[in-house]
């Protein structure tokens, strides 16, 4: 496992939680672009970018659900994307350490998709969200599927 202070390298993967509503189907699994929609409301709008976790920093990918109500974890899948692919799209991720218990190590944000640019210019953000969803669907990069 890597320390979250270690530089992010091209050979790493990042993980993202995906709610069951953003699965177009489960067999075969397919997600829609809104799996990468920034949160606009609530306590934690994605003003600095949508959230991911570095897989190299967590012992088990299911740890990224630690902040989710235990009774609702079955509603989430987990997908992963290689950093090298994000770099090829000019969608870099920045370290953004988690400070709220339960702390999940390796939290990063993707500034290229954030609540402000989604709200102000959705036409430029939606194709990026779709590219990420297409990658997941084509590569079948699902580590976990929702069960409800």
């Amino acid at each position: 496992m890597k320390d979250q202070e270690a530089p992010i390298t091209d050979d790493e993967w990042v993980l993202r939680r995906v709610h069951t509503d953003n699965f177009m189907s489960l067999d075969p699994p397919r997600i829609n672009p809104y799996a990468f929609k920034p949160q606009l409301t609530g306590r934690f709008p994605d003003t600095t970018g949508i959230s991911f976790y570095r897989q190299a920093c967590v012992a088990d990918h299911n740890h990224v659900l630690s902040k989710t109500n235990e009774a609702k974890r079955d509603k989430y899948g987990i997908v992963r994307i290689p950093i090298a692919f994000l770099n090829s799209l000019n969608l870099d991720v920045h370290r953004d350490d988690d400070h709220d218990e339960p702390i999940v190590l390796g939290h990063v944000v993707m500034p290229g998709i954030n609540s402000d640019n989604y709200t102000q210019d959705k036409d430029s953000v939606l194709p990026k969200m779709k590219l990420l969803a297409d990658y997941i669907n084509e590569q079948r990069a699902f580590l976990r599927l929702p069960s409800t």
């Binding site: 829609n32 672009p33 949160q39 959705k122 430029s124 939606l126 194709p127």
Partner: protein, 145 residues
Amino acid sequence: MSTVLESNQAALMGREQYKANPRHIATSTAYFSDTFDREQWERCFAKLREIRSYEHDWNDEGAEPLSEDVLSMAFLVAKMLRANLQPAPTQCIATEEGHVIFIWDECVEYSEVEIDRYLRCTFRKIRPGAKRAESTEFSPFTPIV
């Protein structure tokens, strides 16, 4: 409700806008264009009814239920598309800020229709390789020509 819709209609009619022409969707989804899938439309309406039943925290992130105005407009748009023998969307979703989005994503071009909380209806499509979506507002009240 009807007052809101009527005033929205008036506002939309006054704009220079894309006419409510779902042929654009059919063009984008040529794969389906000769197929009118009754069952898939029924699933779409069932999903809208499910969204209508959403309660506080329906998305597990604290979202509020969608407004009845938005849902009525979404039903209206769906009925208009179905009446014009358009392909059923691949998926219908609600967003945390209270919008409804119909998604067509089984063809070369991605298409969607979004009904936002101001009751604007926006059609978007993404051509392969495009860095920007093409979007245009339309009114479900404008006759199709």
